[in-house]
Subunit: 338 residues, 4 copies
């Protein structure tokens, strides 16, 4: 770490910082510049946060962290890419993995129709919301356990593994019982209590990027899972909040490429939430594949205009089939009923 002293810092203030650096088990390296003094803190102490806190000390302009704050998610630690195996579907491998299904599970019929259609078109996994995080308390909140049962049934019928969101710490157990991959929604990315509950779960976690999370914050959220014992983490970029209102969010594909540089974890993109506009799903899916995303999360509904949530950003069954052709995806031969 580098402590950047203010140009007005006094010798006493500089000495105080040096003392604190030593107290915390680091060695100081002082650079007296023309305008200001800069002090490096070198060493392997675990009291880094105390050096950071010196930002609050008199005469200190800034404390600059030199190293990345994440460890287990980092490619520095682990060069080999993580491949998350979901009942035979390899996320992070050579093939683009497509996860498709309705935003909300609305009925058994709606789900089964979608499941069969997306499977026929070549999807690798089925998604569907049982518990729905809705901006308004007056909107449809999901069918809960009933939806989990429908998902299980659809999985048995089609052989597709299931991805579904868990919103509540108290639902972790039940969702883990039914789902193959537990999704943490964007708005819960920094729900650290939920992350801690998910760390010991034996199923993979799909961690969506928060709508205002930096790449660093996102990777640190994943670090909660890895440091808690769950190495099977799949990241998913789903758009960030910006001033642009023509799209629902701004899908940050550079973040996908950057995370693949910084981390060994697989990264998906969600062009449905990322754009909010059906017509942009296909071009952005192709772009996500080209940028190196390991897969896609696509909302599909048999009749989007009657969807209980996210209709405008859902493809209908035919639209999804066309997307898969555009992506050059083939129906999986190996997917069998479980």
């Amino acid at each position: 770490m580098i402590v950047n002293m203010a140009s007005t810092a006094t010798p006493d203030e500089i000495n105080h910082v040096i003392e604190r650096i030593r107290e915390c088990g680091f060695q100081e390296h002082v650079i007296y510049g023309e305008e200001r003094t800069v002090i490096g803190a070198v060493g392997n102490s675990n009291r880094r946060s105390e050096i950071e806190a010196l930002r609050a000390a008199p005469g200190v302009a800034d404390v600059i962290q030199i190293a990345h704050p994440f460890k287990l998610v980092s490619r520095q630690l682990r060069q080999a890419r993580t491949i998350v195996d979901v009942r035979g579907v390899k996320v992070g491998g050579d093939e683009l993995v497509v996860i498709a299904g309705p935003c909300s599970v609305e009925s058994e019929d709606q789900l089964m129709e979608t499941a069969h259609a997306v499977k026929a078109a070549g999807a690798d996994m089925l998604r569907g919301g049982a518990y729905k995080p809705r901006t308004s308390p007056y909107d449809f909140q999901g069918l809960g356990v009933e939806a989990l049962r429908f998902l299980k049934h659809a999985s048995r019928e089609t052989g597709l593994p299931i991805v579904t969101e868990v919103m509540s710490e108290t639902d972790v157990e039940i969702v883990a019982e039914y789902a193959d991959v537990l999704q943490v929604g964007a708005r819960n990315m920094q729900n650290f209590s939920l992350l801690r509950k998910l760390a010991p779960v034996s199923k993979p976690i799909l961690l969506k990027r928060g709508p205002s999370a930096t790449v660093k914050e996102w990777l640190l959220a994943a670090e909660y899972l890895l440091s808690g014992g769950n190495a099977n983490v799949i990241l998913c970029e789903r758009g960030i909040k910006t001033f642009e209102t023509a799209t629902r969010n701004t899908l940050d594909l550079a973040a996908v490429a950057l995370v693949k540089e910084l981390s060994h974890l697989p990264v998906l993109a969600d062009p449905s939430h990322g754009t909010g506009l059906r017509s942009l799903i296909t071009p952005m899916s192709k772009a996500a594949a080209a940028v190196g995303a390991d897969g896609l999360l696509i909302e599909v509904h048999p009749c989007p205009e009657r969807a209980l949530s996210d209709g405008p950003q859902s493809l209908d069954l035919g639209g999804f089939a066309q997307l898969m052709i555009a992506l050059g995806k083939q129906p999986r031969r190996d997917a069998k009923a479980a």
Copy 2:
């Protein structure tokens, strides 16, 4: 609601929308313009979300919600301002309420020293984190229940009511036992499971605005609490994420004024998180008071440079006393040991 048809919409597409409007229990009002057709859906049906979903129907350019989506939080429903009474401290009344204390409770001594000092300087309530939402799993995560006990003790000694954050659904009961006000942190503003757990609690809730939440999303989060039965909600603006990096966040004081127009709930401002810079706390506190905020949340630490969290945005004890003088606040005469 207004359904805005695309300029290319066919008569069939227009008729389809009209049929759906009728099916959902609304009456249609069609305006045939020069360029495009616009269809109003009028009535009192509870199937509004189905009209919104028509955005996904062929030939529809957009569906525009005319009315505000929130109800119980709205001043339209309730003209009288809500005053939340916290053991005699009236939040939303005539007086500016100042809530002060350390970011994290680090030890009994640190807390007691701070509590006595902020009380002497005129603070109305004591804040302090027992459970800490930290970006990195390697940072100090709070003392938990032990900190709650220290807070209770400090409250007994000083007579100041306690505000502390609850991060986990499973901690709601214990936090409610010790705290006078339960805080929902910014990153949990849309943790709807937590909100639902808090709705039946008999203690007031302090709901911070999420770093990327619009005013509308913030008020709808409060709506979760009110519609669930908890009318004692205090809102708190704490800065939003923007491109500006000179400050930690951008404190959106216009949102404070706007929320006071839209809602009857009291609104606080948090210039510590809102700016991240100690030197800006006093000017922004004065600005918040001038804009009509009902109170302030201020981080105070006996020795900010040794704080386990948020030192750079914490005032020391003397700095807080000076702030209170700048604000014209007097020590409370009525605050007695409980």
Copy 3:
């Protein structure tokens, strides 16, 4: 247009709006809803802005513009895609057009070396800054006319058309004399005086999106050029400002796809400025091609670490050749010395 009356609007306020609508040459269509009244203004009057101004009238909650505000740039007006022909290079046609070169023209040698190399690798046009918009007045401001001469020379030697930025209204004439395409930089996107000066110029204009411009604002800036007489406008997405600091900007590829839906103008992407990071240029170039961009703007420098501007986001000559291979671009056979 739709005038959305406040729920508290009085009959007088409603009547006043109706009168104004009539005065301005429109016909009113009133929808009396349960909660509020909504008034459509229908007709073909050119006094739309006066209806918009009613947002300021008593009892009015909002005025909603239904139609897109742009005309000549719109695909509604012109279905056929515009192809801008730059000395034989067709921008907006079937082939991905790559425009490459140094951020700043620093010397004749630097430019000639780059020009020959990018041509050999398959670039279609040469870019290079003669006049540089620099955040600090103390940074290198460009070689001006001398650089224009070098560019002309490089164009003669390689046959590549020249793209260079014009920053000042008073330089329009001289830049138009040397350049094949005149670039309007991102920070000048809403320099309407410059746009008006460029409208009558007979050379094509490359209009970069401003770092905080919405798609609507960007298209309206292009509308200044088209309505002023210059139909040869090439748009270029170069990243928007967001809270994310890991990349210099956030390259908004969905905007590229969206603009291709809304407008007939060709759209390029600039992954150099869009990311600020050399390692992201290749993945984001591939993504831009996949999303449907008509071309790319790439910064290339013989020795990026000695570049007078934008080194970290510049490819070196070998890196550019590799990018072209990754994109499947072949050296142009038809490009001959002029």
Copy 4:
């Protein structure tokens, strides 16, 4: 400056950086850390930008600028606050300066009526747009020179100095002839050609912050004016672009306080553009005064609903008089017809 080497940097890469640092006239200070090497470049050379360019050198992770990049605007250079004297009105002195008037000058009557009213209410200067930067080419673009003449007339009648925007380099001379203060609009903040034209002008410049400009970029834009010879610069915060759509912009009052820390220049706030909502002008004006702004820019129109621009964010004459009372402003006794 600090060159932060990648953890994978080789000794050759480190040596190369050291050589470049020496070549550029700096002295290196190498800190070999546990994980990575950090190299300080110390000295007084004017080749700083070449060190920054090393970010592009192999093995370099980052180059961190330690010192602020601005000089003449900085309080480090000049402790005494700049007071800009505009025909006796002292901007940056003890009194809050209020500049009021219509967004656009629409007619002599409209302007004169406003001018007399704002003077009577206590305004210190008159604002009014002669040249209007409008998002759409089809919107009212201002009356140009005719408006300048009206402004001069209004100034003569009321004694109020005139603030008006200059949009074009070619209008600088004529605007400087009529106006007392030349305004650079937000969208032209980084129109460096315009800034350079304004630097030698003998009249004060009011420099608005760009909607996506960081504080650093804003101060560097001012640095263009000061380094070019114009020391009479007044800054004006007018709101930045964020995801929030309930207000037109987000008025960043912390930036006002921060700029007063960093710079000796006076800073105004513009709550009209900053919020876009008439009802927020008074609370945000009071907040701006409380935060330490040196003055306010307020849009006032005799009949906002008929304004040719910005009606919804304009106060009417009575509303402005009430604002002045709320601010405790008295009509100026010393303002006499010139």
